[in-house]
Symmetry: C2
Subunit: 412 residues, 2 copies
Amino acid sequence: MSHQQGGHISLSPDEGQIVQAITRERPMSRTELARRLSCSRAKAGELVNDLIGRGILEDVDTGRKTRSRQVGINHELGVVLGVDLGTTSLDVALADLGGRIITHHAEPWAVERGPQTTLNRVHEVALELARPFGIPVEGIRAVGMGVPGPVRFPDGFIIGEHFLPGWDGLIAREHLARLFPNAVITVDNDANVMAIGSMRQGRGGDVSSFVFVKVGTGIGAGVVVDRKLVRGATSTAGHIGHTCVDFNGPICRCGNHGCLEAMAAGPAIARRAREAALAGRSPILADCLKRRGGALTAQDVSEAAAQGDAASLNIIQESGRMIGDILAGVVNVLNPDLVIVGGGVSKSGYQFLAAIRRGILNRSYPYATVRLRIEYSPIADRVGVIGCSTLATDWLFEVEGKSLEAANAVGF
Amino acid sequence: MSHQQGGHISLSPDEGQIVQAITRERPMSRTELARRLSCSRAKAGELVNDLIGRGILEDVDTGRKTRSRQVGINHELGVVLGVDLGTTSLDVALADLGGRIITHHAEPWAVERGPQTTLNRVHEVALELARPFGIPVEGIRAVGMGVPGPVRFPDGFIIGEHFLPGWDGLIAREHLARLFPNAVITVDNDANVMAIGSMRQGRGGDVSSFVFVKVGTGIGAGVVVDRKLVRGATSTAGHIGHTCVDFNGPICRCGNHGCLEAMAAGPAIARRAREAALAGRSPILADCLKRRGGALTAQDVSEAAAQGDAASLNIIQESGRMIGDILAGVVNVLNPDLVIVGGGVSKSGYQFLAAIRRGILNRSYPYATVRLRIEYSPIADRVGVIGCSTLATDWLFEVEGKSLEAANAVGF
C-alpha cells in the first residue's frame, strides 16, 4: 500500500488495537503489543508481520540491536492534516500518523469570508506546508477540521447560521474531499477537537473525565467522560455558551437573550471595555480606543489590565465569574476530575482563571470540588491542531466499519 | 453451589457476557448466546454446561420440546433485596436474579430516625417479605440500597451530614453486611439507582443517554451517557440540587444560599404554600393549613392545584420552571436523548411537567432540544427498587475482579 490509494484503511479488531496503541502512544515492540492484546508473542508477531506486509507498519530503527525491535506506523503511508478554524484565526498543521506535528502555520482569518475562500486558503496553506517535505497532496491521507460552531457528527453538516455565516447547511466534508482527493475527511466542533487534543497530549490524558472550555469569540466546551468525548443526541453536547445567564441581557448571535457567550466572551469583553472608555472609567482604554479608531478587542483589555487598569481587570474578572457560574452547573452534573480553560481569551492572565475558579467554587456542591483541578491548557496554542490531527488519524482507520475513535468507545 | 455460600460469584469474561445477557434480558437458548458471544454453538454449549454444573444457570422448562431449549439463572442461587430509602419513605423489594420483582413493600419512613433503627427495620421488612416464599435470610445473595444523599461509590461511605442526619461517615455497607451475612452489599445515591432502574425497565432502555431527575424532599439526578451511569470523580455526578439559583435565596440544607433544592423541592413548595395561606392568597390552602395544625406538604399543594387553586398552581409551576432552568444547563452540556422526571413531587400533575419543559426550552440551545423528550417516569413507584435490585445483581457477579456493571463499562 502507498499513498496513491485513498480511503479508509480496514483493520481487524486485533489489528485495530495494535494500530491504536502505536498511533496514540509510540512505536512498540512485539512483546509489548502481545501484552496489550493479552495474546502470545507469536500471535502478536504474526499480526505485526501481516501489517508490515500491508505497508501499514514498519520496523523502526532504534539504533539498538536488541530482541525488542520496535514497530511504528510506516511513514510512507502518508500524513494527516489538522485544520483548526476559529472565528478570527486559522491554524493548519501537518502531522504524522503517530500524532506528532511536523509543521504548523497560524494566521488571522475571518470565518465570515465564507466556506469557498476559507477552504481554498486551507488547501493553499496545506500545499505550502507540505512542499518543503516533498509531500504531494496525495500524501495527505486524512484531514481533521474543527470549526467554531455546532457540527452534525460524523457527516460534517454545519448547523449554526449564527456562528458561521454563509456556512449553514454546508456538508463541509464534501468540499474538503474535492480539495484533498486522497484523504478521509472528518469535521467536528472546535471545542470538541481541543478536548481530543488535551486527551492525547495535554492534561486530559491523566484523568478519566474532564471539560475543556474554549473562551474566544464564542464559548464552548468539549466534554470527556470515561476517556471518551461526549457528542450527544444531536452533536451539540458541550454547548454551554448558550445557557442563559440573564434574560434581560444583550441579544446573542443565536437569537436568545443573555446567553453566557453574549455576556462573557471576547466581543462582550470588548463591548464593556468600550463602554468603560466612553464613560471615562478608564483612561488607558480611552487612549487605546482612540488609537484603534473606535474599536477595542479583548486583547486590548488584557493588556490594559496587565498595566494595572482597574476597570479592565474588573471586566475580565466579571467575565470569568460568569463563566465560572455556568461551569459550576457543569461540575455539579458531571463531577469531573479537571476543567481545562483554553481559547484566545484564556491569554488574559491569572486573574481571569482565578475568577473562573471562584465562580465554580461559589456555586457548586462542595464535595464535587474536593479533587477538582481548574487550569489553563499548557498547550493552548496547538491543542486545536493536535486534536484535529488525532481525529483525522482515528477516522482514517476502520475496524469492522467503525473508526478507531468509535471502536475504542465500545472497547474492542 | 447453593445459597449457603455467600460472597461474589466469579466468572470469566465469556461467562460474564452470558450471565449479563440473561440477567439483563431473559432466559436464552444456547444458539442465541453463541450469537451474542460471536462464538460457535459448541463453545456456547460448553460454557453453559459448565455454568449449569456450577449451579449458576439451569435449563428452563418452556413447555416446548424444541432444539432451542433455554437457560436461565438457577433459581436456587437465591434472590436479591432492593432497598430504596427516601427522606420520608422506605421501599423494600425482593427480586430474582433476572430483575423481576417478586414482592414489594412501601411505607412512610423518616430517614432521621438514624441508621441503626432504619437498617433494623429494613432487615425486619426483608424477612417478612421473604417468609411467604420460604426464603431464609441466607437466600438473600445481594442487597442494593439507594439513599437520599451523596454516597462514595463503591464503598458506600455516606458523605452528607445535611442529607442524612446521623448517617454521616457511616460505611452503610458494613452495617448491612452484619444484617445480611450471605449477601454482597452495594449502596448508591437514590437518583443513581432510579437512573439504573429506568435503564433496565423504564424508558431509559431505549436511548443512549438520559438524565433521571428525582424531585422529592431533595432534588438530584442520575446521569447516563452511552448506556452507562456517570458517577464522577468523587461520586457526586448528577448533584444538580445544589446548583445555586439565587444568591439571596433561603439557606439550603447544604449550608449554601438559594440552591435549586432550597428553592424548588418539596419543602420549598410547602413553605411557599404556607406563606400563600397566611397571606390570604389561597382560601383552600388556608383551610388545609388549619386542618393540618399549621403545617403543609407538597402533596397538599398538588391537591389544591387539582381543585383549581391558582396560588397552588402558581407555586408548582414556579418550582417546575426553576428545575427546568437548571436542567437547561444540563441539556446544553450533555445533549441527552431524554429527561425523565420522578420522585414524590412528580405526582403534581401535568402542569409541573409542562413548567419543567418550558424552563428547559427557554434557556437551552435550540438545536440541543430538537429530539429531546421530557417525560414523567412511567414506573415512578417502583423504579427505585428495580434499580436497587439491578445494582445488587450486577455487583453479585464478578468478572476478573470487576462487577458486571464495571465490566460492561469496558465492553467485555
